[in-house]
Assembly symmetry: C2
Homo-oligomer: 185 residues x 2
């Protein structure tokens, strides 16, 4: 038995409780490494992109939007869920344009991460978008969004003062600031 | 109408679909700022703590564990959900000790954040734990965990190489590295 095997759980059965518009919920009966059984509650999500977009004068394109689950208006990076079959880079370009009106001519993937892997499979991919052109803002039908341009150092301050509270946004800002040289910012 | 009001949604009704061991799922009918109605799927979570624990020789205490929702063994900071009525600092001390065997004599809150506020209310509080004493590891009954000690610069490399994929852990490591002076590391 190698190290990974000694940690892994085998699925014995899966039961769907809910299959919704965006998320689904299932219960998995799983066999633990020591042979005992447990039940895991698992939220399924189609995955999402998050976009760290930098203007030519080196400002971060941020959005402010109300989030019903937490009942607060949050500072975030532009982001959105992946449509079935959609290429992640196209998804990032689409969400950036829908939410902010900016089109990017230079976009690249930075990292992927799981938002909360204890109970959910949501995987986020962070993109760096540069060489921006301002086009028309074309909001999703049920999104109300304000766009703000912030210098990286000001965004870092908003993270350190805990005014920015969205995990994917904290990751994007701290990644930018801690990678100053390697991502040519 | 002020700026915040122009973004907020009012709840018209809430219906529970599932009330589970750790998470619950509800549907909220909400009124959008323009008067139209929409349905929001919301996962409720009791909240959690995440612990950036530094040994006296300046290593980060990390754990490796299998996460059923993503079917992978992940590198993480010690973390866990808050029990009903539990003080967050006590929760952080308890989770650190349960998962790693370390007790901290100096612990302080750094920031709070939402893991995925588009559909879930999970709020995480990040603690810095220092002045560690090694006690006995006392695992939760269904957790299988390996402990690893990593230098901050090595942890940063694991983030940049995308080997660390857990959002709360990326936040803890990048926060540490980007706040070198202010948190006396």
């Amino acid at each position: 038995m190698n190290k990974e095997d000694s940690l892994e759980e085998k699925t014995l059965s899966s039961t769907y409780i809910y299959q919704g518009k965006i998320i689904s919920l299932r219960q998995d009966k799983a066999k633990l490494p020591d042979g005992r059984e447990t039940v895991r509650e698992i939220v399924e999500h189609p995955g999402a992109v998050v976009v760290l977009a930098l203007t030519d004068d080196n400002k971060v394109v941020m959005v402010r939007q109300f989030r019903k689950p937490v009942d607060e208006v949050l500072w975030e990076l532009p982001a959105g869920k992946v449509e079935p079959g959609e290429d992640l880079k196209n998804c990032a370009l689409r969400e950036l344009e829908e939410e902010t009106g900016y089109y990017s001519r230079k976009i690249k993937k930075l990292i992927t991460f799981f938002s909360t892997p204890g109970f959910c499979n949501e995987k986020l991919t962070l993109f760096l978008a540069e060489d921006l052109e301002e086009k028309n803002k074309n909001e999703d039908t049920d999104e109300f969004i304000e766009v703000e341009l912030i210098k990286p150092n000001e965004a870092l301050k908003l993270v350190q003062e805990n005014i920015i509270k969205d995990a994917k946004t904290i990751i994007g800002i701290l990644y930018l600031v801690s990678s100053k040289n390697s991502i040519e910012y």
